[in-house]
C-alpha cells in the first residue's frame, strides 16, 4: 500500500516517539526474572477482521548480552514468506495448493513502514533484505539494519517501528484467518539471536520453525468488541473504546514468542490442574469435546509435572482451530497452543489427546528449553514426540493408546516407528531443517526417529535413569538455548556412562540398526562312538581286557544360532534360544562384529532363537528377521491366510461395504 511520505511521515515519527501504551502499568508475574530477558517487546496492534490486516507499533528493547560490539541487527519478518510465490518458503514447498495470483486474500506479508532509534534517528532507509541461507534475492523474511551507533556489551538498543501485517486466508503454515477466525503467529518484526559473535537469523523455510531470545512482552490488541481473544501470557485488562472496539492488554514474562487468536464464535471452557489455570477455546461445532480437551491438557500437565519438573507459568490456553483452517492446527507457542479435532470423532480415536499432549510438551521442549529449531529440530520436535509417546502409553495403555476402535488398535509409538521405517537412512538425525533430503526426511528425523531412538535409549538405561536425565536437562537448561552437545553431556553425566557411541550413531549419522537371526539348526548327535578317554590303548588298538567306553549319554542335540548385524549401527543385543523342553538361554552380544554364533549341546532340540526377545530396541528397522524358528509356523500362516481368504470372500460378495469409506473420508 502507498502513502504520501511528505505528510504522513512526520506524524508517524512523532507517534513513534510517544511511549507505546503497552509498556505502562503492566503486572508482574514472577518476582524475579526466570530468563535473561534479552528481547523485550511492547506492541500496540489494531486488527481489522474485514481485511485480515493489522497495524502495529512496536518498541523493541534488546540487550547485548554478549562480549562483542554489535554494529547491525537482523530481524525476522516471517509473514513475508507468504508475500508471493518467489519466497524461499514457497519455492521449497512441495505440496502447497496452487495460489491464484489474482486472489490477493491468499497472500500475506509483514512490512515495516517506519523504524526509529530511541533518539529519533530514522533507520527505515537503512533496511536491507538479506538471504543468509540461500541465494534467493526475492526472499524478504530477514532484514539487516546497520546501526548509526554500535551497541556495546551490556548496552540496550531501543527501536520503535510502525508495521503492517496481513494474514493469508486461509491460514498457511500456522498463520492466517478464515471468515471470522484468526490465528496470529509470527506476526510482528522479531529480532534474531546474537550468539558467538554473530547473528543467528535464518530465513523462513518450508521445513523449519523458529528461534528467538526470551523477554517480556506487553501487547495491546484492539479489535471489534464481539471478538473473543486468546493469547500468550495473561490478560491484565481490557477497555472498551468508543468506536466499537475493545483493547485487550496482555503481559507475558520470560517467553520468546507471542501468538494470539480471535474469533467471536469461540466457546470457552475453563479448568485447573497442577495449579495452572487452563482455558480452552473451542469451535461451536466441537463444543461437546471441551471437557475432553480439558482432560487431555490436565493429563499432560500432570505427567510433565511428575516426570520432568514444574510448568512455571500460571496459565495455559488451548485453541481449537476453525474448520477450513487446519494449517493453524497443531502448533505451539509459549503458554498457548493449537490442537485439532473434528465433530463426531469417537472416544476410541485419541488423535485430539495425542495432539494436546504433544503441543503442551512443546512448552517444555521448545519454550523452556529454547533450542534452535532451524538448526536442531530434533531437540524440540523429537524429544517432544518421545515424551508424547511415553505419556500416551502411561495414560491410555500400552496398546491401543492412539486408536482403539472396533477391535483395531494402534499404539502411538508404533505409528512413529512405522513412519521412521519410511525414511530411516536418508539423512542423519541432526541437520539444518531445510537441508534434509525431503519433507518426509525432515518429518522422520525431527519427529519419529528421535522418539524411537530415545525410547531405545530409555530401554537400555532404564526408565528411571532416563527420567532423571530429562529432569536434569530441564533444570539445567531451562530458559536457555541448549544444543545437542548439551543434551548429550547431561545424559552422560546423569547416567554415569559414556553414551557418545550411541549418540554418534543415532544423532550424527544415518546408521541403521538391524540385527537378525539368520540361521537356526539343530541335529541329533549320534550315540557315543570311538575310544573313551579312560580306555587303555596300545599301539595295536585297545588292550585285550578293555572295551571302548565312550559313555552313552542318551539322546543329545547339537544346535547353532547364527546372529548377524545387517545394519551399520552397533548396539548390544540379547539373544534368546528356546528349546523343546521349554528351557531358554539368554546370551549377551556386544553387536560389534558382523555376525556371531552360539552353539549348544543339550538333550533338547532347539526350537527357535530371537534377538531382542523383549522388543526393547524399536530402532531395529526390521522386526520380521529378529526371530527364526526351526519349524515352519504353519498354524500362524494358515490362520492369517484363512482370515484374508474370508475377508475377500466377504468383500467380493458385498462390494457395497466400500461405501462405508464415505464415513471415514467425511469425518477426517
Amino acid at each position: 500500500m502507498s502513502f504520501r511520505r511528505s505528510r504522513i511521515l512526520p506524524v508517524i515519527c512523532t507517534a513513534l516517539l510517544l511511549p507505546v501504551t503497552a509498556a505502562s502499568g503492566q503486572n508482574t508475574i514472577f518476582p524475579s526474572p526466570l530468563s535473561p530477558r534479552i528481547a523485550n517487546y511492547d506492541i500496540d496492534a489494531r486488527y481489522d477482521p474485514a481485511r485480515f490486516t493489522l497495524e502495529g507499533r512496536e518498541k523493541l528493547r534488546w540487550r547485548n548480552e554478549g562480549t562483542d560490539t554489535v554494529r547491525s541487527i537482523e530481524m525476522h519478518l516471517y509473514l513475508n514468506a507468504f508475500r508471493n510465490n518467489r519466497s524461499t518458503f514457497m519455492m521449497e514447498s512441495e505440496d502447497l495448493p496452487d495460489q491464484s495470483p489474482a486472489d490477493s486474500a491468499r497472500w500475506g506479508f509483514c512490512q515495516i513502514r517506519s523504524l526509529l532509534t530511541e533518539n529519533g534517528e530514522e533507520l527505515t532507509g537503512r533496511i536491507r533484505y538479506i538471504h543468509p541461507d540461500d541465494d534467493n534475492t526475492d526472499d524478504r523474511t530477514v532484514i539487516e539494519i546497520p546501526l548509526p551507533s554500535p551497541v556495546l556489551p551490556g548496552d540496550t538498543l531501543v527501536l520503535s517501528s510502525v508495521f503492517t501485517s496481513k494474514f493469508p486466508r486461509p491460514p498457511v503454515a500456522r498463520s492466517g484467518g478464515k471468515a471470522e477466525y484468526l490465528f496470529a503467529g509470527q506476526w510482528f518484526p522479531k529480532i534474531g539471536v546474537f550468539e558467538n559473535g554473530s547473528w543467528n537469523c535464518h530465513q523462513y523455510h518450508a521445513q523449519s520453525e523458529f528461534f528467538a531470545d526470551f523477554g517480556v512482552y506487553n501487547v495491546n490488541i484492539t479489535l471489534p468488541q464481539n471478538e473473543i481473544v486468546g493469547a500468550t501470557g495473561l490478560e491484565t485488562g481490557s477497555e472498551q473504546n468508543s468506536d466499537g472496539t475493545t483493547t485487550h492488554r496482555f503481559h507475558a514474562e520470560d517467553v520468546h514468542d507471542f501468538a494470539w487468536t480471535a474469533s467471536p464464535e469461540y466457546v470457552e471452557f475453563r479448568g485447573r490442574a497442577e495449579q495452572v489455570d487452563i482455558r480452552v477455546l473451542m469451535q461451536p461445532d466441537h463444543r461437546e469435546q471441551g471437557p475432553r480437551y480439558l482432560a487431555a491438557a490436565a493429563t499432560a500437565l500432570k505427567y510433565f509435572h511428575d516426570w520432568y519438573g514444574d510448568y512455571p507459568f500460571p496459565n495455559l490456553t488451548v485453541v481449537d482451530p476453525r474448520r477450513g483452517a487446519r494449517e493453524s492446527a497443531g502448533m505451539e507457542y509459549p503458554t498457548l497452543f493449537t490442537a485439532w479435532t473434528t465433530h463426531g470423532i469417537p472416544a476410541g480415536c485419541r488423535i485430539p489427546e495425542m495432539i494436546i499432549i504433544h503441543e503442551f510438551g512443546h512448552n517444555y521442549w521448545y519454550h523452556l528449553l529454547a533450542s534452535n529449531e532451524f538448526e536442531e529440530s530434533w531437540m524440540d520436535e523429537g524429544i517432544n514426540t518421545f515424551t508424547e509417546t511415553q505419556i500416551m502409553r502411561e495414560a491410555y495403555g500400552q496398546t491401543g493408546n492412539l486408536l482403539d476402535l472396533l477391535g483395531f488398535t494402534v499404539d502411538d509409538l508404533t505409528l512413529n516407528r512405522v513412519e521412521y521405517l519410511g525414511a530411516a537412512s536418508c539423512d542423519p538425525t541432526l541437520r539444518f531443517a531445510w537441508k534434509y533430503y525431503s519433507g518426509a526426511s525432515y518429518g522422520v528425523n525431527s519427529y519419529a526417529k528421535p522418539a524411537v531412538l530415545l525410547t531405545t535409549l530409555q530401554n537400555y538405561l532404564g526408565t528411571e535413569t532416563m527420567r532423571r536425565i530429562m529432569r536434569a536437562y530441564v533444570n539445567r537448561w531451562k530458559f536457555r538455548h541448549p544444543t545437542t552437545k548439551d543434551f548429550i553431556a547431561v545424559a552422560n553425566e546423569v547416567s554415569g556412562r559414556n553414551l557418545n557411541w550411541f549418540f554418534d550413531q543415532a544423532i550424527y549419522s544415518n546408521a541403521v540398526l538391524d540385527y537378525s537371526v539368520d540361521k537356526v539348526t539343530t541335529r541329533e548327535i549320534s550315540p557315543g562312538r570311538g575310544f573313551g578317554f579312560t580306555d587303555r590303548l596300545t599301539g595295536n588298538g585297545p588292550a585285550a581286557d578293555s572295551a571302548p567306553s565312550v559313555p552313552d549319554t542318551g539322546r543329545l542335540y547339537a544346535s547353532e544360532v547364527d546372529v548377524r548385524r545387517l545394519g551399520t549401527f552397533i548396539f548390544p543385543v540379547t539373544v534368546e534360544a528356546k528349546f523343546e523342553d521349554g528351557s531358554r538361554v539368554r546370551e549377551q552380544w556386544d553387536g560389534k562384529d558382523t555376525w556371531t554364533r552360539f552353539r549348544y549341546t543339550r538333550r533338547a532340540r532347539l526350537v527357535s532363537a530371537t534377538v531382542d526377545p523383549d522388543r526393547l530396541i524399536p530402532l531395529d528397522i526390521n522386526l520380521t528377521n529378529n526371530s527364526r524358528t526351526v519349524d515352519y509356523q504353519t498354524l500362524g500362516v494358515t490362520t492369517a491366510t484363512l482370515r484374508v481368504l474370508f475377508w475377500f470372500q466377504s468383500l467380493f460378495d458385498q462390494p457395497e461395504i466400500f461405501n462405508m469409506l464415505n464415513v471415514v473420508a467425511g469425518l477426517f
Binding site: L635, L642, S650
Partner: protein, 305 residues
C-alpha cells in the same frame, strides 16, 4: 411373505446352486489368498512374526510387512482386481441359469441350467455394460445431500451439518446401489423371460418395472440386504477377538467363516428367487401363438399391463 415362502421353496429344490455359488466365491478369493500365503510364508514363515498371526493381527508387524514389501502391493492390487472380475463375471454367468430355473420353478436340471447360463451370458455382459451409466446415476443419488447442504448452508457449513450429512450420504449411497442392483436384476429377468436380444430394451423394461413397482421391489430386496448386514454383525459378535491358537480353534474358525459365506450365498439366491416370484405375478406370460404368425409379437409386454 408369500414371495419369501415361494423363494425358500425354490431354494430347497435347487440346492446345487448354493454349492455352485459358494465354490465360485471360494475360488475367486483363493486367487488372492494362495499367493498371499506363499508370500507370507516366505517372509515370516520361519519366524515368530508368522507364529503371532495365530493369535491375531499385530498392527506393528502388519505395517512393517507392508512398508517392507512395497513391490508386493501393486501385484496384489492386480490380483484382487482380477479376482473380483472373475467373481463378477461368474455371478453374471450363473445368473442366467438361476433366473431360468426360478422362472420355470423347476428342480435343478444341469442341462437346462448351463444352457440358459451360456445362452444369456453374452447378453448379460452387454446389459452390464449398457447399465453402467445407470450405476453412475444411482450412485450419484448420494450427492443430493451434498447439493442440499451447499444450497441451504452455503460453502462453509458447521461440522455438525457435515457429520450428519456424511451418514445421510452414506445411506443414500446404499440406496442408490440397491436401486441399481434391483434394476439390473429385473432387466436380466426380463431378458430371459422374453428371450430378449435387445439389451437396451431389457434395461428399459427393468427400469420401468422397478419404478412402477418401486416400493414393493425395494421392500422385497431391502430385507435381504439388511439380513446380510445382520449376518455380518452376528458373525463379528461371535468371532470378534476369537483367538485360534490351536488346530482345533482354527477348524472352528474355518467352519464359522464358511458358514457365514454359505449364509450369504443363500441370501443372494433367496433374493433372486423372490424377485422372479414377484416378477412372475406382475408380468403376464407372453401368450403362445398357434398357426401361422404374421410375425407380430408385442415386443414390450409391459405396455399391456
Amino acid at each position: 411373505m408369500r414371495y419369501y415362502r415361494e423363494a425358500l421353496h425354490k431354494l430347497l429344490r435347487t440346492k446345487t446352486l448354493i454349492l455352485l455359488f459358494y465354490l465360485l466365491n471360494l475360488g475367486s478369493a483363493l486367487i488372492v489368498a494362495l499367493p498371499f500365503r506363499s508370500v507370507l510364508g516366505t517372509v515370516a514363515g520361519h519366524s515368530f512374526t508368522g507364529g503371532a498371526f495365530a493369535s491375531g493381527f499385530d498392527a506393528e508387524v502388519i505395517l512393517e510387512l507392508m512398508s517392507r514389501n512395497t513391490v508386493v502391493g501393486p501385484v496384489f492390487q492386480t490380483l484382487i482386481a482380477f479376482a473380483a472380475a472373475v467373481y463378477g463375471i461368474g455371478i453374471l454367468f450363473f445368473s442366467g441359469g438361476v433366473f431360468g430355473l426360478y422362472l420355470r420353478n423347476d428342480r435343478f436340471d444341469a442341462g437346462e441350467f448351463w444352457n440358459d447360463a451360456g445362452r444369456m451370458f453374452p447378453r448379460y455382459l452387454r446389459l452390464f455394460l449398457l447399465s453402467l451409466p445407470v450405476l453412475v446415476i444411482c450412485y450419484c443419488i448420494q450427492f443430493l445431500e451434498t447439493a442440499f447442504v451447499r444450497i441451504v448452508y452455503g460453502p462453509d457449513p458447521y461440522q455438525t451439518v457435515l457429520y450428519w450429512g456424511v451418514w445421510i450420504r452414506t445411506g443414500l449411497g446404499y440406496l442408490g446401489l440397491l436401486i441399481y442392483a434391483v434394476i439390473f436384476d429385473y432387466a436380466r429377468i426380463f431378458a430371459i423371460d422374453s428371450d430378449e436380444r435387445n439389451m437396451r430394451r431389457a434395461l428399459g423394461n427393468g427400469i420401468r418395472f422397478v419404478f412402477r413397482h418401486f416400493l414393493p421391489v425395494i421392500g422385497i430386496a431391502l430385507p435381504v440386504f439388511l439380513a446380510g448386514l445382520l449376518l455380518l454383525i452376528l458373525y463379528n459378535l461371535v468371532t470378534g477377538g476369537f483367538p485360534s491358537p490351536s488346530t482345533a480353534g482354527l477348524i472352528v474358525l474355518i467352519c464359522l467363516q464358511q458358514a457365514y459365506i454359505a449364509g450369504r450365498v443363500k441370501l443372494r439366491l433367496i433374493l433372486y428367487a423372490v424377485q422372479t416370484s414377484y416378477f412372475a405375478r406382475k408380468v403376464p406370460e407372453t401368450p403362445e401363438i398357434d398357426g401361422p404368425s404374421d410375425g407380430i409379437i408385442d415386443p414390450n409386454p409391459l405396455l399391456t399391463i
